[in-house]
């Protein structure tokens, strides 16, 4: 097991390094530089040179890269070009909001997805199953911003049931603030869950149907175990294993989806920070945000693999 963990950790570190390197060079391969956006009006070559020097962009690319890696090893993500503040501070300011949004959506997808998937599998071929299949296939076609905008317009603006922007009413304190927080979370979370739920439940249903056809389930039936016990205890325990991988991947999709959701709902997370930093070509912020997202996804996948290995010892072999 120790060898498996070490092997997985090394792969995770390698993946993160590739993500860091790719992000660094891809951003710089894009046409223009941070001064490109300052063309409205006069800018002398001296001014441009001064700005590039301030940003450290006057150095050869490889030197910039080495220096960036050196700083990263010291935990320094650099200084934002536009905000003149440490990227770490900026990210830490926004990260909790994204974790909250993506975390709640993730847990809700699982909490609601499992019973739906199990119910559909238990009623295979009947109308609840057909309904789920339609919902699952439709879920693949749904686009987060479209769903978000629909919820915003109808439930937020037209019916006035939920706030249409922000994360918490700034004028609230104490318990009222927590209630306001939950109230503000409903629509962004709903838009993420609606998109993720169908495909997740459908995958679980398919796995469960496969498992329910296995010999050991038939043996359990022969032993006289009740249908509910066969389904939930023996079936689900085995069917959920492949769905674990999907959960890991879903976390990445959720974080990506949060970029779009946060923009529509004016939610103050990392997603919106990325949206703004792209427009400003703020390399350090973009690099920091992408690295953080990469770490989130890689760690989530590594944990999923480990959990998989714990639950299914054959993986470790």
């Amino acid at each position: 097991m120790a060898r498996f963990v070490l092997n997985r950790a090394l792969k995770a570190v390698l993946t993160i390094w590739i993500a860091i390197t790719a992000t660094f060079f891809l951003l710089r391969l894009l046409p223009g530089d941070p001064t490109t956006l300052m063309v409205e009006g006069d800018m002398t070559p001296e001014m441009r040179a001064a700005l590039l020097k301030t940003y450290g962009l006057d150095q050869p690319l490889l030197e910039q890269y080495v220096s960036y890696l050196r700083e990263l090893l010291h935990g320094n993500f650099g200084i934002s070009f536009r905000q003149i503040q440490p990227v770490t501070d900026i990210l830490l300011d926004r990260l909790p909001w994204t974790l909250l949004l993506a975390g709640v959506a993730f847990l809700l997808t699982i909490a609601v997805g499992i019973p739906i998937g199990v119910y559909a599998a238990a009623h295979r071929g009947r109308w609840p199953d057909k309904l789920l299949q339609g919902f699952g296939i439709g879920g693949h076609a749904l686009f987060v911003p479209s769903v978000a905008m629909l919820l915003l317009v109808y439930l937020g603006a037209k019916l006035g049931w939920f706030p249409i922007g922000g994360a918490v009413d700034p004028d609230t304190r104490g318990a009222a603030a927590y209630l306001s927080l939950a109230h503000h979370l409903v629509l962004p979370v709903a838009s993420l869950v609606l998109v993720q739920l169908g495909p997740y439940a459908l995958t679980l249903r398919t796995n469960l149907i496969d498992v329910l056809g296995e010999d050991y389930i038939r043996a359990a039936r022969a032993r006289g175990l009740s249908g509910r016990r066969r389904l939930w205890k023996h079936g689900l325990r085995n069917a959920i294993l492949p769905a674990l991988t999907l959960m890991g991947l879903q976390l990445g999709t959720l974080v990506g989806g949060a970029v779009l959701t946060e923009t529509v709902f004016a939610y103050p997370g990392v997603g919106r920070l990325i949206y703004e930093a792209v427009g400003q070509r703020d390399y350090p912020v973009l690099q920091g945000a992408f690295i953080m997202l990469a770490i989130t996804v890689v760690v989530a996948n590594a944990l999923t693999d480990l959990l998989y290995a714990v639950l299914n010892p054959r993986i470790r072999l």
Binding site: G32, D42, T54, P96, F265, E276
Partner: protein, 545 residues
């Protein structure tokens, strides 16, 4: 039994872990605990809520380049001059300005009743320090406007003299309008101002000063009780709160729902009608300083020919574009100066009429032919670049492509992502550029920036090298006599039009939406950069009733 206990213990551990994670998350979020501003105010005091699109990226007004930053920072740091709704410069911190020494010295006379919020008066030394810092650290776009400055003097508390290497007619207008004045006694201590974030303990002298900034959510400004340009000596509104809505559609919903009272951004022409049935929302309409246009790359062998540029100008149906793309909410232009500058707009110039047959005849006369009979001139194939995030211009390029085909000109749509577009434009890697200028506060700066070949920092996207234009621009730039200056500008308009260096398309009307049932008194400025969110405008706002 032991199995049950273990199961329970596991569940408890999981619950505790989840709770701790949630608590950590929420404490990280702050959840209003550390926020100094409550948003509540004493009875009778009004809070004006404004929708903005992005966070403040830089609190240092000398360095900031963002439009949305300026909405907040301009309310805090005074400028010598402001621009009024007719695009004329009006006094702000400076009462007036004069030129001495044959135009080589610009002298500003300051008001003596502006004070910083820490009680110190705003004096000439603050202006001198601000300008010298910009020059020293080459900060922001103002640095280019100070190119001619050789020295700055502050002989007394209310006089600032800028000594110039050569006369430049709109120097005072440009610097007066664009340069923020910062408190020397605060900023001097920061050392290198290019690295000064100025992100706390704000001291300002505008009508409002920042009180708290909650990144990603809101910025709260409190009233400066001693702002001389507000009726009664202080703004009627006690606080201004900026709330963030990155998506303009969400911002419109927020205005309709009463979450905000004013949209900082203009309402898109296509969306303005959605407010028509809402009795509480009013729209203020103003013209614009900038305009949409086609610019031709003079390094292209075909576009270097005057006949080709003129034919292209005749191959675009501007009137139809205005009615279909902008729902008629724009004005057609003829010369290269926005008509809002009434003193400089050459009204004798007429736009090139849409005439595909005439354009075809012009190109035939210039030696182009259609050998294969496909209706298009052989070898005349041009790309039109634009910023694809500008929905109006993307549509313009499509319509231009269709109408130019009728004139036998094949155009390719090369609209791309904004940064790529700007980069290509800057590097001259395009044939025709369809874009929209933002703010030109005076025609001389505009002409100098766009056509003067010896201005390396300019935005001469034509890559024009015309000794005639250079001479005309340099001659006008040194003319401090107002009437003679206007005549010279109008003459440059004429030459640019005849040469068709650019085809001006339209100048948009901007519409700004606000909740008229709660507030009134806004003063709109002719630019989406300023709109109704200027220091002067915010100081005039009054609660209704």
């Amino acid at each position: 039994m032991s199995k049950t206990i273990n199961g329970r213990a596991r569940r408890w551990r999981a619950a505790v872990a989840l709770g701790a994670a949630a608590a950590l998350g929420l404490s990280g979020c702050g959840l209003n605990e550390d926020n100094g501003a409550s948003g509540e105010s004493a009875a009778g005091d009004a809070v004006l809520r404004i929708g903005t699109t992005t966070d403040v990226s830089n609190f240092n007004p000398l360095q900031s380049l963002s439009k949305t930053d300026s909405w907040i920072l301009n309310a805090m740091y005074p400028h010598l001059l402001r621009i009024d709704e007719n695009a004329k410069k009006a006094p702000e911190l400076a009462k007036d300005y004069t030129y001495e020494n044959d135009g080589k010295t610009a002298v500003f006379h300051l008001r003596d009743d502006f004070t910083w919020t820490d009680g110190k008066p705003v004096v000439a030394d603050d202006v001198k320090f601000s300008a010298e810092s910009i020059m020293k650290y080459k900060l922001g776009n103002v640095a280019a406007k100070l190119t001619w400055v050789t020295s700055i003097e502050a002989p007394d508390a209310t006089t600032v003299k800028f000594n110039l290497s050569q006369p430049y007619a709109p120097f005072a207008e440009g610097v007066g309008f664009w340069m923020s004045v910062v408190p020397k006694h605060i900023f001097e201590a920061a050392g290198d101002l290019s690295k000064f974030p100025n992100d706390s303990n704000w001291v300002g002298a505008g009508p409002f000063v920042l009180e708290s900034a909650t990144k990603g959510q809101r910025y709260v400004m409190k009233r400066n009780d001693k702002y001389p340009l507000a009726p009664g000596g202080k703004p009627a509104v006690s606080k201004v709160e900026y709330r963030l809505y990155p998506d303009v559609n969400t911002m419109m919903l927020a205005l309709r729902n009463g979450d905000i009272d004013l949209m900082g951004t203009p309402v898109p022409a296509s969306a303005a009608k959605t407010f028509e049935n809402d009795a509480k929302i009013k729209m203020a309409k103003v013209g614009a300083l900038g305009f949409a246009h086609l610019t031709y790359n003079m390094n292209n062998k075909d576009l270097a020919k005057q006949e080709v540029r003129q034919a292209l100008s005749m191959a675009i149906d501007t009137k139809s574009i205005i009615s279909s793309v902008l729902q008629g909410d724009a004005q057609q232009m003829s010369g290269p100066i926005s008509p809002i500058f009434a003193d400089y707009d050459n009204t004798e110039i007429q736009p090139y009429a849409f005439d595909p047959a005439g354009a075809k005849a012009k190109l035939t006369a210039a030696g182009y032919s259609d050998g294969n009979g496909d209706g298009l001139f052989d070898g005349l194939e041009l790309g039109v670049a634009c910023d694809q995030s500008n929905a109006n211009l993307t549509r313009v390029v499509q319509l231009f492509r269709e109408s130019a085909a009728k004139a036998g000109i094949k155009l390719e749509n090369e609209c791309v992502e904004r940064n790529t577009f700007l980069s290509r434009t800057k590097d001259g890697k395009y044939d025709i550029d369809a874009s929209q200028w933002g703010v030109f506060d005076n025609p001389m700066d505009q002409l100098r920036s766009t056509y003067l070949s010896s201005n390396p920092g300019g935005i001469n996207y034509n890559l024009l090298k015309s000794p005639e234009i250079d001479q005309l621009i340099n001659d006008a730039a040194g003319t401090t006599d107002t009437a003679a200056f206007a005549t010279k500008i109008k003459n440059i308009d004429k030459v640019v039009h005849e040469q068709a260096y650019l085809t001006p398309l339209y100048v948009e009307n901007f519409q700004f939406a606000y909740n008229a049932s709660k507030f009134g008194g806004f003063v709109a400025s002719p630019s989406d950069l300023l709109g109704m969110v200027t220091a002067y405008s915010l100081a005039q706002v009054k609660p209704v009733g």
